[in-house]
């Protein structure tokens, strides 16, 4: 992408690159051997005994391990799917309501109503700042510990996870959509008013659909965040998602004096990478398709060094 920063390599650069690579590979390999392989091997981390339950179908524990992972991943996907849908719906509502409250300012109204309007704006703003500024860990733990005290209890811990993730992510998604609507060319809103649409019709029929499209990359990276955050469920509220079942299995094996911590967490880490990488590739694909036709989110003047579509999404954790 940044090829504009340097020339295409000539023969000399190619030679230097080749030599550095040839030198670097053994050096890196030796470093990995010396500082990673040897210490891990010293603690028998490469023994077949601890890897067999994961990689050897003949092992007695193999079916159990993969069965648990299947359960865990299904639960992860269930929690992520529900949280994503709920966050999108509630986030959209929030964005539309906040826009509506902003638009209503220009109407004539009684002082009492104006105070109400101001209160509404302050309330939604506070709601957004509070849930956006608090860590998901805290929100999740709060939901899990306090909702039952307040009489809201569920048999399935899934719902605590979904509520906790939705509280945080609906607000984030709402803000993404709202800034998407604000960022559209002013002419869109003005034209909608000119043909006689009400403010909420303007937001819902004209601005919202375009914002969804423009903000798709950010939305998808938020979806990745939601999927990653489901892993908090296993740790904090003992929900049986992919990481949670891995943790359970590590503890179960530990009782038989088999320490499979490293193989287990390594494997589940790889699975997360595969799933999330696939998701972000999907995001790139969608963005390429959208950029071929229709409205272009970037002003034509801004030709920049940025080339990769994934980077236009603000990095979120």
């Amino acid at each position: 992408m940044n090829s504009v920063l340097y020339d295409a390599p000539g023969p000399r650069t190619r030679l230097i690159t080749l030599i550095t690579s040839i030198v670097a590979v053994p050096v890196l390999a030796y470093a990995a051997y010396r500082w990673i392989y040897l210490p891990l091997d010293h603690y028998h981390q490469f023994d077949g005994k601890i890897w067999a339950p994961i990689v050897n179908p003949g092992n007695q524990y193999f079916p159990m391990v993969w069965d648990r992972w299947k359960v865990g991943w299904l639960n992860t996907l269930k929690a992520a799917g529900l949280s994503i849908v709920a966050s999108l719906v509630i986030g959209s509502l929030l964005a539309l309501v906040r826009r509506q409250l902003l638009e209503l300012r220009m109407f004539r109204m009684s002082p009492l109503k104006r105070i109400g309007l101001f209160g509404g704006r302050a309330l939604t703003r506070t709601w957004v700042e509070v849930w956006r500024g608090t860590p998901v860990v805290t929100t999740l733990f709060f939901v899990f510990m306090v909702l039952p005290i307040w009489g809201v209890d569920f048999d399935d811990r899934l719902w605590f996870l979904v509520i906790g993730l939705t509280l945080y992510n609906s607000v984030v998604i709402g803000e993404i959509l709202r800034s998407g609507m604000d960022g559209l060319p002013a002419g869109q809103r003005e034209a909608a008013f000119a043909v006689g649409l009400r403010p909420w019709q303007t937001s819902w029929l004209v601005l919202y659909p375009q914002a969804l499209r423009v903000m798709l990359p950010s939305l998808i990276s938020q979806v990745v965040v939601i999927l990653k955050d489901t892993s908090l469920g296993g740790l904090i509220i003992s929900y049986e998602e992919a990481l949670g079942v891995s943790k359970q299995m590590v503890e179960a094996f530990h009782r038989y004096n088999i320490d499979i911590g490293i193989p287990m967490y390594f494997s589940v880490g790889v699975m997360y990478i595969v799933v999330n990488y696939a998701l972000s590739k999907l995001a790139q694909y969608l963005q390429r398709r959208l950029s071929k036709s229709g409205y272009k989110p970037v002003e034509p003047a801004a030709a920049t060094l940025a080339a990769l579509p994934e980077e236009s999404a603000a990095p979120t954790l």
């Binding site: 340097y6 020339d7 690579s21 603690y43 306090v146 892993s231 740790l235 967490y265 954790l317």
Partner: protein, 237 residues
Amino acid sequence: MEVFSDKLDVFWNGFLGTVQMCLLAAVGALILGALVAVLRISPIPPLRAVGTAYVTVFRNVPLTVVMFFAAFALPLLGSDASFLKIPGLRDIIKPLGTDLPYFRFATIALTVYTTAFVCEALRSGIGAVPLGQAEAARSLGLSFTQNLRHVILPQAWKLAIVPLGSVIIAMLKNSALAAAFGVIGTLMGVVDELVSQEYYDAVPVFLGVAVGFLILTVPLGLLLDTVERAQKKVATR
């Protein structure tokens, strides 16, 4: 509500612990992130591959997994992260010098995780520099390093401030996870200490913890909004 009059010092210590951990991780992640960003844009393909691999791995793995790894693998690699017991620094940031390694492990995990996002933020700053700048620099005959040092980076760091800021805010919030790995003396650790062990009412404790985080995140967010608006104004002028 009596928890606030009784245990204000616990909240305060937790707040300080979180601030200390985040300062360390922020400095570490900014330095490492800059290095990885340089790797990712370098002309040498193997270096680029290393940078890309790093970012792909840590962007797609949950922080929870990274923390598990730090807690499991670092002891096996024969390290209790005692290289972080830097003389002088460990007197200011007390948890660094303790015998229990959990604070150091959590800081390392938070740092290596955030590094990937810092790298992407810096890269988005570099990517936002107008194309003509790099082209002009090259047509003047500047090399890759000269081009970066004199033309691209001085402009890129300003454009990277806003994305870097959101990375730091996210890191502040992610630091809450450390408490789940046995790190005591952070904001989220307060919940464990006061609710699980001393049976204080959960609601006010959570309120206090949330306020602690909001004190850190909200002003930073507002500041970033202001910077962003100011930059937009300059750009459209």
